[in-house]
Amino acid sequence: MTEAASTLPAPRTPGGLVSTLARQRELSLVAIMVLLGALVTLTAPQFLTASNISQVAVLASVIAVAAVGEALVVITRNVDLSVEATIGLVAYAVARVLELHALDAAAAIAMGLGLGLVLGMINGVIVTVFRVPAIVATLGTLSIFRGLDYLVAGSHQVPLAGLPPGFTDAARDTLFGIPYFVIVAVVAVVIGSVILRSTRFGRQLYAVGSNPEAAAILGIPSRLVVFTAFSLCGLLAGAAGVLWVMEFGTINGTSATGVVLAVVAAVVVGGVNIFGGSGTLAGAALGALFLGFVANALILVGLSQFWLQAIYGLVILVAVSADAIILRRIKRANVRSRSR
């Protein structure tokens, strides 16, 4: 770990070369998706139908919303492995209060978001106040939140019939032909990106991630920034939990198990640098869409879904290696420009 950190370049601004490269990542993702789409369409023409694409996009949007939150944390050079447990716990809580008619739909959604925020804040406190490294803290809360989920849910499963009529319609309803879920994901990306680009918090987020020492010298309240990032990640995971209820309708204590891998993979594939300090939210969301299309393509081509896990792993490894190569280039470029 020490070595890795020492290869970091001097403090960078989010603009300039890095953002160009990041944008390239997004462009290259889109290019790969188009290429992939063309190849798959040759063997399975149904791939390019509107209904298939919208189905894939709806499912990917759930992951994308969580990935946007994860990206915020990763930009600060941390990681949140507990997102799937947050998604699961929020999903169950929302489904259960709806089943018990304790709250109406709007209040239940607000409660879900609030619960997600609280869980994210707990992570933030453990990391910033108790100074537990993020991986240990969130590996621990992964186990704790999931345990709470089991504890609350027991063997109860909220059936689709337990939800208010129409609640799950949001998963397939569209606005001008665009599924609501996709709109939600796009809104999350746009709001997040605006905050990152044009507010002081956004700049501080990148600064803390790219060079903590320099950030400290500049007087950036890095603990507060990291805490905020974890809180927002929790909030967005909560939003993903609400979407999860709408998408799947049937919720029990194990809902969303294993999703963290898809979320982290989406972030890494989307070009968010795991060393912190760079990456865009749009990239993370595109990463989620990309993985969704890969999963869909595998099924349509007739390849067993067992390949999926291996391909997730490969995609993560390729993406981080690519990041490292880009970083080295930047470093070399910086050295050159400085020596000039």
């Binding site: 050079r77 100074r131 490294p133 590996l139 186990s143 891998l261 795991i274 792993g313 981080v320």
Partner: protein, 350 residues
């Protein structure tokens, strides 16, 4: 998070602190045994202890190389998937009528190669071990599913399944426990009594300084990951034997317990300190705790919460103990710089 705990620099202080950590573990273990005995009249039986140890042996065995890796400042999240891949390959080969005498060495070779992949990506290409091994966590599991698919292979010969489920003749000591103790002794000697072990600590404390003083950082790190892969595949073989069945999902979820056990054993997550005896004690403590909770009919969800809390506390407690100690030192005027003012950026990626 950058300004997280900076471990102490003085070796001696850590030795005393760790000595105390292990004492703490022994006390906790005695407490757990008393608790278990009060919870269930069946707790204090030889057979119960034999069972509770057997249930955690794969985790215990994987915790040993994990100790070395974390001491060296890295982490290997892929061990559970390597155990699964080994189980899958072993099952596949056995189903293809490859004799076990050939299949087992082959599986161990695959384990080493998987470790080599991790090691090269981390040490040679300078990638973050957390992300690399998260990737191979998915990759190895995926390969296991590709190799074996969802079927289970279970017609292994009794002599093989005896390895995992049987006991040393005339005793209630499970065979895997013998393997664990043997490995623990060897690795403890290597880590605590050899030049190589001191190099591992040196890397974990300060990689740059270690490199300047002639430690072959890359080579040692690669070696540690190869060892981790090798022993994870051994754990996979033992698991296959204990379950008398090879499955692609073998070992799923074990990494969390492995890391918890190692940190609970007093190993510093930032590297540079920790002992094998401490981890061995933690293994037994966790095994006793899980068994006591089960005998008390405490539900698994509570156990899951307890494990997560333990993981976090095992980092929080040493940190605060250390800060308290520094504060006391400061009051005495012995050591001017408080530990938490040292920028921990160098090993802060978490």
């Amino acid at each position: 998070m950058s300004a997280v705990v900076a471990p102490a620099k003085g070796q001696r202080r850590w030795v005393t602190l760790l000595a105390r950590w292990e004492t703490l573990l022994v006390i906790a273990l005695i407490g757990l045994v008393l608790l278990g005995a009060s919870l269930s009249e069946f707790f204090l039986s030889a057979r119960n202890f034999s069972n509770l140890i057997a249930a955690l042996m794969e985790v215990a065995i994987m915790a040993l190389p994990m100790t070395l890796i974390i001491v060296a400042g890295e982490i290997d999240l892929s061990v559970e998937s390597m155990a699964g891949l080994s189980s899958a390959i072993l099952g596949f080969l056995w189903a293809e009528h490859v004799p076990l005498e050939v299949a087992i060495p082959l599986v161990l070779v695959v384990g080493s190669l998987g470790g080599l992949l991790n090691g090269l990506l981390v040490a040679r290409f300078g990638l973050l071990s957390l992300v690399v091994t998260l990737g191979t966590l998915a990759l190895f599991r995926g390969l296991a599913l590709i190799v074996l698919g969802p079927r289970g292979i279970s017609d292994f010969p009794p002599a093989f399944t005896e390895l995992g489920f049987g006991h040393v003749p005339g005793t209630l000591i499970p065979w895997p426990f013998v393997i664990f103790i043997a490995l623990a002794v060897v690795l403890a000697i290597v880590l605590h009594r050899t030049w190589l072990g001191r190099q591992v600590y040196a890397i974990g404390k300060n990689t740059g300084a270690a490199r300047f003083s002639g430690v072959r950082v890359t080579r040692i790190k690669v070696g540690l990951f190869v060892l981790s892969g090798l022993i994870a595949s051994l754990a996979g073989i033992i698991l296959t034997s204990r379950l008398s069945s090879a499955r692609a999902d073998a070992g799923e979820g074990m990494t969390l317990t492995v890391v918890t056990v190692v940190l609970l054993g007093g190993v510093n997550i930032f590297g540079g300190s920790g002992t094998i005896p401490g981890v061995a004690l933690a293994v037994i403590a966790v095994a006793v705790m899980q068994n006591a909770l089960r005998l008390a009919s405490v539900t698994v969800e509570v156990q899951s919460i307890a494990l997560g809390l333990l993981l976090i506390l095992s980092v929080v407690i040493p940190t605060f103990a250390h800060q308290a100690k520094s504060a006391i030192d400061r009051v005495r005027g012995a050591r001017p710089p408080p530990a938490d003012s040292v920028p921990g950026g160098e090993r802060a990626i978490s």
